[in-house]
Symmetry: C2
Subunit: 200 residues, 2 copies
């Protein structure tokens, strides 16, 4: 079996949201699975010196135009949430906790959380909202509530974020095919080719 | 006649170099011409707060891997120049001066200057090198040498850079189709679609 594609994303990243809609069909074409790895761009930005896109003059303005255009192109529901960006440690922890129990549930939850934020404007960084999304997915919200307070889950998430920075992840989405890095939803066509050709 | 595609680029931008190889076939498919608009990212970065990619931890490291990979994919000759990045006002001025006389010559010169830097490692920011490239293209290097010192050419270039910032250009390459902005060489497939469908 070929290695899974690693999909690093921040729940506050609109380009990660778009990628969450596109990565699975792409991976399936190459008989690859996808490992969903929520990360937190805040700590990565401390290393990289980047700032949130929304705060950047010119670039932030472009992004505000670009994201809805990209979503219209792909038929992905989208409305700018307020506030934006947000801290996303709660849904990230939820995904890691779920992943260790049932990766399919973790992926379904990740998609639901992304949709809650970028389509429905719900503040998924708030623990209550992160739990409500889980309950709507038929997950055990009580067990998840306990998990979000569990030091082991906190440590697991922190270690995952640190590992992603160590791998060079400075933005979202960020993919690895075997050890080859691809940054940005725009790079999916190139990654598709890389997978088809086995590199070049 | 449809409007030309505006192609903003910095001569020190490797992604602009790649785009310089790809933009014309794309434009021709849509019966569009291309207006080549060299700009200087330094002043844009003062507005946007961006830094040169090469200086950014993680992101700079990714770029050093990504650019050669992209060039291999497209069969574009490439070798990292030293120093990198460089100030590129000399070739920018040359292009604007040539453009006002003969756009085809300006484009041929722009391509030659890009190749001199990113394939042959020649420091095109130095006036002598910028002039040597012109001479190799059969251009009147003596007239160009005078033009590079001409206040009118300096002002023309400065005005072009300021106009690009006013349009929101914060990176290279940056394109406008009619008034629609597209940033990055990765966005050429999307721009291609936009041109084919007339937007969405």
């Amino acid at each position: 079996m070929p290695e899974p594609i690693d999909f690093h994303f921040d729940f506050s990243s609109p380009y990660g949201y778009v990628a969450a809609h596109l990565i699975e069909p792409l991976a399936q074409r190459h008989i690859r699975s996808v490992t969903w790895r929520p990360t937190l761009l805040g700590p990565a930005m401390k290393v990289s010196g980047n700032q949130p896109l929304a705060d950047q003059p010119l670039k932030g303005q472009y992004m505000r135009h670009d994201v809805p255009r990209l979503c219209r192109r792909h038929g992905i529901p989208f409305a700018w949430p307020e506030p934006f960006p947000i801290a996303t440690v709660a849904p990230a922890r939820a995904v890691y906790w779920l992943w260790d129990r049932d990766p399919d549930q973790a992926v379904a939850y990740a998609k639901a959380a992304y949709r809650a934020y970028f389509a429905d404007g719900r503040a998924i960084g708030d623990t209550d909202v992160a739990l409500a999304v889980a309950a709507e997915q038929g997950l055990d919200a009580e067990a998840l509530a306990a998990a979000l307070q569990d030091q082991a889950v906190k440590d697991r998430t922190k270690a995952a974020v640190e590992a992603s920075i160590k791998l060079g992840v400075f933005g979202s989405p960020f993919f690895f095919v075997d050890e080859e890095p691809f940054w940005g939803v725009d790079r999916l066509p190139l990654m598709d080719e890389w997978l088809a050709r086995g590199g070049w």
